[in-house]
């Protein structure tokens, strides 16, 4: 696996075997708002992970059913309307969207998934969608992942894509290309993530599913902008099979790298965010404890505001650790708190370290590392090899952002 050059590429092609259409149905004032992607590869495979929200809408319910085969053939994404809390009419509308899209692109409707984000409690504007979807029958499809990512956006400040290459078992090259939309909202609605990963590798659905779920668990499931869980969160992986087989390790590493890249982009572009905040916890009893403590720190408004203010406030980190009062095996006397590469507790940095600490806290990426001292973290570290962190027993890395006035402005003021 080799890293693709980063930073605002002018085009990001989808891997072989996929064709995509990003177009405007008139759901938003400007720009594309409906995406249809079809997997035309010789060996289509898919895996999908959905929100666990009790208020999941028809898109999630339908997609969950259609994804069960592991052989989904494509995806429809509708922007601006989450189609959540819309009752029987909402479910009928979602079915109709899939039926019409399926008819236009020539796949059975039960082979399509659907993802929607946007306003809650309002029906799709079906007249607009019918016209648009029926028109796709004669439309030209392309392979522009950047256009797909752009059409999915809500308050995202830029489209998010990530690319990694793999080597197939015959020595040729296969691709993993991911697109994602954030953690943002348009009107009186909610933070919502959609991530779609495409690969032209040939992979059995069962293998893809295990590899993708492992990647999601260490990346998107370790992302938190404001603790709120969307009714619509959806992550999907499609494999076309066009490029031939890759070793399972190679696939896992590339999937995880693309998901991690997108996760960091989503965190950094969280509503109002000015900084990427990474929290690494080691030395925990198990990964569950590590993740619980890491999320308590990542989600603490007091920690998030301290990071925003570039304040090396380890007391607030100690407070956030202390909230996990059921974890009685955590002994404050064995805990270590590190900002960047500088220990703040129990070292109690003096005036001499203050300049270095301020530098660390003022950077665009702030990493807080905590060793809980419940187990020997040196042993944990030996378990992590892929650079994504988070998977070793007793450790976990999570991704978020600072809390700013702009978050308040976006969510308190810019509503209907």
């Amino acid at each position: 696996m080799t890293a693709h050059p980063p930073a605002s590429p002018s085009t990001v092609p989808l891997p072989a075997g996929f064709r995509a259409h990003a177009g405007s149905a008139g759901l938003r004032e400007e720009g594309d708002d409906v995406v249809v992607v079809v997997n035309e590869g010789p060996a289509p495979a898919s895996s999908a992970v959905f929100t666990r929200s009790l208020f999941a809408g028809p898109s999630v319910v339908l997609s969950r059913t259609n994804a069960a085969s592991g052989r989904a053939r494509g995806l429809v994404v509708v922007a601006k309307n989450a189609n959540v809390a819309t009752g029987e009419q909402g479910m009928a509308n979602a079915r109709e969207v899939l039926d019409r899209a399926a008819a236009s692109v020539g796949v059975p409707p039960e082979g399509l998934l659907i993802a929607s984000t946007g306003v809650i409690g309002r029906q799709y504007p079906m007249d607009l969608l019918r016209t648009h979807l029926d028109g796709l029958a004669g439309a030209e499809f392309g392979s522009d992942a950047l256009a797909v990512a752009a059409a999915m956006m809500t308050t995202d400040t830029h489209p998010k894509t990530a690319v990694r290459e793999m080597t197939t078992t015959t020595g040729s090259t296969a691709q993993v290309v991911g697109v994602a939309k954030g953690v943002g909202m348009v009107e009186p609605d909610m933070a919502t993530m959609i991530a779609v990963i495409f690969t032209d590798a040939a992979v059995e659905p069962g293998v893809l599913d295990v590899a993708f779920r492992a990647a999601v668990d260490d990346t998107f499931n370790c992302l938190s902008v404001d603790t709120d869980t969307s009714t619509s969160d959806t992550a999907i992986a499609f494999a076309s099979g066009t490029a031939g087989e890759v070793a399972e390790d190679e696939l896992r590493a590339a999937l995880k790298a693309v998901c991690l890249d997108l996760t960091r982009q989503l965190a950094r572009d969280g509503e109002g965010a000015t900084k990427l905040l990474t929290v690494e916890v080691t030395g925990a009893r198990d990964r569950g404890q590590a993740k619980r403590v890491a999320k308590a720190i990542l989600n603490s408004p007091l920690v998030k505001t301290a990071v925003h203010g570039a304040d090396p406030n380890w007391g607030r980190v100690a407070m956030a650790i202390g909230k996990n009062h059921e974890d009685t095996d955590i002994d404050p006397e064995r805990v270590r708190i590190v900002f960047g590469d500088l220990e703040t507790y129990p070292a109690f940095p003096g005036e001499a370290e203050l300049e270095r600490l301020t530098e660390i806290m003022s950077a665009e990426e702030v990493t807080i590392s905590v060793d809980l001292g419940v187990t020997d973290s040196a042993a944990d570290a030996a378990g992590g090899t892929d650079g994504a962190g988070g998977s070793a027993g007793g450790s976990c890395t999570v991704y978020g952002c600072d809390l700013t006035r702009e978050y308040i402005a976006i969510n308190a003021d810019y509503t209907t």
Copy 2:
């Protein structure tokens, strides 16, 4: 029990049997910063409830021990320094503070409790405290609850007191007087609550403890400003016995009323808050489920910013309910969401109700009521009688505030 007239009383006397000294040891630039209260009644009784934080400091550790008898005779409150994460020296300092205060007021040190709030990870300025505490031997003590409340404050915008009267079994009057400090911070430290309740009723420690814990559970434990749990949270009740016996029901109602009054004041004065947000959940399987859902709504940054922006955004409330995905007995089709007295889901208010909704959301107190429909909430309602809500099986009421730019300013900018 009769309600005391509210609003900025110029003096609030402590009940009979207590004497208090609020003075300046020089810990803050202006105003009092150390409080010593002594219970001189004929039948001293006490009850105390502390933070469950793993990082609880020497004040909490010492007070927990000294409160165990149910016969604590007094309290020392130190402002500006939490004495948390201060190691063995911090524990020795806390002991010395109690020893010196005890010697000056003539009670055994193991009869005193101690509560501290403020900066974390720094030792008490012991020279200042020694001079101040030794000087109390000849000092004049008074009975001014307002001065006690003021000396305890951090970023509180006003001292918080609450008073209720009770009738004793012989027909005379007894008092319950409460003081509390917020949910605010001074320097690079943490949200911290201290509440102290005084009564001149005669009550056995066991009875006081049961009544006080029940009151705390429905009030202070239902308060959340930013989900962060202090290392120093302390709530204490003292009874002097001077005024004679009261019926247990009378005591419970008065304790709860005073605690609820203080809780609402603390929520309303949360950092940066402009509104009191009350969330009532009914129709839950049990109180635990009701509280979990109520807190998910109360703590959601998206709900809190919507309340700040006066946006009747029931979609965000649905999202917050949906986060409790382990509560699979919650069926979205049976859920009702009400803002003020107006149902928003599943009623979907139209244009006609919009003006009324805006009025409700623009008030200084916003109440969001959710009926989960898991059980029959009419049956629950019959269980609640005391106006404090929250104690009926399957229901819970929690108290918080909106999330504002000023919260960010206080916690990101005004730090060292």
